[in-house]
Amino acid sequence: MRLDIGIGEWKVSNKADDELKTYALGSCVAVCAYDPSNHVAGLIHIALPDSKVNSEKAKKLPGYFADTGLPKLFEDMVKKGADKKNIKVKLAGGSSIMDQNRHFDIGRRNTIAIKRYLWKNGFGVIKEDTGGNSSRTVGFKVADGAIVVSNAGSKWQL
């Protein structure tokens, strides 16, 4: 079954037939986490690095922000049978899109904030396809953790 994940959402599955899918990542980042021993996969579509900019939104949609979404993702993975020690993380997205003042790069800041959380919580990023200026769609198979990134006309394995 295909499980579509919108902006600020996350889903976790331990069903081998499932595929987690998220679309049109611009400056947003998909964090794909996988426990290969227990075949538990989780994907979150993060839009902004820090919930301090809008704490009300963070309460309603914690997955929108790296600092509030990532703990939820890993909690749910553990609930579905993942062992935190086994979890491997890959990232996709974080295209270089400037803010309205053409000042800071939101995609880069998202990627950095996510890595900061992961590093401080004992998760390493083993692979990433971030930056650049293209939109990306991500498909993530629960059975084997295979991740395919695509954009208009191209597909590649992460």
Binding site: H103, F104, D105, R108, I112, A113, K115, R116, G122
Partner: protein
Amino acid sequence: MREVTKEQAKAALLRATQNTLGEMAFIDVIEAEEQRDFETGQLLFIEFYKPVRGRLLLALPLEIKREIVENIHAADWDELSVNEIDDCLLELLNVLGGNFLRELEQKDVKVHLSFPTVLFSLEEIPDLDSFWKFSFDAEGNPFTTSLALHEEEA
């Protein structure tokens, strides 16, 4: 020595600082929109000899110093020794110096740097007026890097 303009140096230093602080300490850096005063919590200094000669001074407020150290060690400030704090800041400056020279040359060149050191006062650098001073912003906190490039000795 080839002529390096202030703009070229600033662009190379910005890219190097973004890469170094982003990769090592998970802190995003941008060019500051305006110069803001801050109380210096740490002064770090390094000299370089190849492919160009010069000196680099990094001035950090306590907030950024603490953020860098906590992020690199993935530990709370209170758990860290003075040596652990100094070591990671000096290593950061060492990497920043190398990255700056590679960004300046636009290629992966061999670089030669001094050991980085902690300064206790700006008075330890008598000709500070000859440095270019660049202001950056680390996720809302200001800091500066000052740079002097020198002619090769005959």
